[in-house]
């Protein structure tokens, strides 16, 4: 198969290539056939990027739906802002760290992307603008995953700060080591992660885990006996709608990671589709047997688990394997969600399980099922089941381990630093009352002031101020 070349190209040499491109304008424009292919490559990756940005809406809805109505405005705001601030942070520094001019010491490319470089109109195959657009969508994804696990108790200001650093620093370092052509790409048997089961999803997932641990669980999540108590989400319709939007976005995420418009794109889409469906069905069945009833949000998690699982191996494996990998992802997520409950790590949306645990599974599955030469593998039949031995397994294990250590340590330090300075968690009173009013000024679901008393009654019955300070003062007549 000839795909290997293209992806390798992207992998090891991308930084250098981009630098090259900036230096040498105008090529490729002569032959009309070639020019159209060039435009098509760029157009498709841009559209794929749009699909990935659409996932932001999906993440927002899943999180909002799985939490309580008193925090809904805060949750939507976090999701809006981790995207907005994240894209800017990635443009200013993250992109340069991730993909800057490789070996060349001083030759960083991409610092302050806003200011220079992306205005070139040539590239091979992708324009700097296209490549950045797509990568920025990925960066925003990594950032937003964390939000869900930290929901309902994190100060907005602190979340905003965290969000900046993950897209400016933590995620870009992972990029540098991997897709940026760094050391993990230069091992004898290089790492393989086609669209980012680990690079994107597990980055979000493990950072989410550190956030959830350092924050502690929501008030009431664990009984006095230590047993997990359910805190039902307020809108399952949002959860499933969000999951469906994520599903749609994934057709940009995975097939777009081909970074070209070629004949492999529909196959990547097909394997993504089947893995997601297998994940949903498996999670439902397993959960049904385990708990007696098929939980809707677990099925939605299963869909996402199937999609996360196939994200890394989608290029390297056969179609039947995609179904198996997705199904196992769906199986894992059911038990993982319960496990984190038992570990007293409170993750309202299952982000750690879906993105961290299953992302790791997806990455490792390459070592078992890889048959095609794709995404840095450098050879066919690398998977254990195809006679490839254990070489790739060691690499994948090193990869996920190093990644785990980096992300947990970096995110851990970041959260601890925030905790020690501006504080990470809202007060118990605010948590009980909901974050919407205290953090953002008014409730997410406002009531009609014309309905229960409209304004003047206030004047009539209340003193000037607010509830605030305890007072020992007596009767009120």
């Amino acid at each position: 198969m000839k795909r290997a070349k293209r992806k390798l190209l992207m992998g090891t040499a991308l930084g250098a290539l981009l630098v090259l491109v900036v230096a040498s304008p105008a090529m490729a424009q002569e032959d009309p056939g070639f020019a159209t292919q060039f435009v098509l490559d760029n157009l498709w990756i841009f559209i794929a990027g749009v699909l990935v940005f659409f996932m932001q809406a999906g993440f927002a809805l899943v999180e909002a739906g799985l939490t309580r109505s008193k925090n809904v405005a805060n949750i939507m705001m976090k999701n809006l802002m981790d995207m907005s601030a994240g894209v800017l942070a990635f443009a200013l520094v993250g992109f340069a760290i991730g993909f800057g001019g490789s070996e060349l010491l001083g030759g960083w490319f991409g610092w302050g992307l806003g200011i220079a470089g992306v205005e070139e109109t040539v590239g091979d195959p992708l324009l700097p603008a296209t490549f950045f657009f797509f990568q920025a969508a990925f960066a925003a994804t990594a950032a937003t995953i964390v939000s869900g696990a930290m929901a309902e108790r994190t100060k907005f200001k602190s979340y905003f700060v965290y969000s900046f650093f993950i897209t400016a620093l933590i995620y870009p370092v992972v990029l540098r080591w991997t897709w940026g052509g760094g050391w993990l790409a230069q091992l004898e048997f290089p790492f393989s992660d086609f669209a980012g089961s680990t690079i994107v999803h597990a980055t979000g997932g493990w950072a989410a885990m550190m956030g959830a641990i350092i924050l502690g669980p929501r008030i009431g999540k664990f009984g006095k006996d230590g047993k997990p108590r359910a805190i039902p989400g307020h809108n399952i319709a949002f959860v499933v709608l969000g999951a469906m939007i994520l599903f749609i976005g994934w057709f940009g995420f995975n097939p777009g990671s081909e970074l070209l418009a070629d004949e492999f794109v529909p196959q990547l889409a097909l394997k993504t589709l089947l893995a997601g469906c297998a994940g949903a069905v498996t999670a439902m069945i397993v959960n049904w047997s385990k708990d007696g009833k098929p939980d809707v949000s677990i099925a939605a998690n299963g869909l996402l688990a199937g999609l996360v699982a196939i994200t890394a191996p989608v290029g390297a494996v056969e179609t039947w394997a995609a179904i198996v990998i997705g199904a196992i992802g769906g199986l894992i997520v059911v038990f993982s969600v319960s496990m984190f409950d038992r570990l007293k790590i409170d993750d309202p949306v299952g982000a750690i399980s879906v993105h961290g645990v299953v992302g790791t599974w997806g990455t490792l599955s390459i070592a078992l099922f890889a048959v095609y030469d794709d995404a840095f593998l450098g050879r066919e039949n690398a998977g254990l089941f195809y006679g490839g031995g254990l070489d790739q397994l060691w690499t994948q294990l090193i990869f996920v381990l190093v990644h785990f250590v980096w992300v947990t340590v970096a995110a851990g330090l970041l959260f601890l630093a925030i905790k020690a300075t501006i504080g990470l968690r809202v007060s118990p009173e605010e948590e009980l009352a909901g974050l919407d009013v205290e953090e953002h000024g008014s409730p997410g679901y406002g009531h009609d002031p014309a309905h229960v008393g409209s304004g003047v009654v206030t004047a009539a019955f209340s003193g000037a101020g607010r509830e605030p300070v305890p007072t020992s003062e007596g009767g009120n007549e």
Partner: protein
């Protein structure tokens, strides 16, 4: 006059309304409440964790009646709301000191 307060099972509201009407009661006020009592709430499962819903949804009725209608009205509620299962609810009768119909200003029994 008496004020009859009743906590009943929600799906019985229709029948209770009809029963009251048939004995000559002309109006009522109805609200949603959560009832705690002998009847336990449901056990639900959410994302693998069981939880008890500690209350049972009930309907709260308020019916203002004249003294002579009171016991018929109570009987009507009792019969129409009865299923025989735990959680059928309670009827509470309170004496009313005075009543007013806002539209006409009528007081006492005329206000009912």
């Amino acid at each position: 006059m008496k004020l009859i307060i009743a906590f009943i099972k929600p799906f019985k509201l229709e029948q209770v309304g009809e029963a009251l009407k048939s004995v000559g009661v002309s109006g009522m006020s109805v609200g949603d409440i959560s009832g705690f009592g002998r009847q336990a709430g449901q056990t639900e499962v959410y994302r693998g964790a069981e939880y008890e819903v500690d209350f049972v949804p009930k309907i709260r009725l308020e019916v203002l009646v004249t003294d002579d209608l009171a016991s018929v009205a109570v009987d009507a509620i009792e019969k129409s709301a009865h299923t025989g299962e735990i959680g059928d609810g309670k009827i509470i009768v309170v004496s009313v000191y005075d009543a007013v119909r806002i539209r006409t200003g009528e007081r006492g029994a005329d206000a009912v």
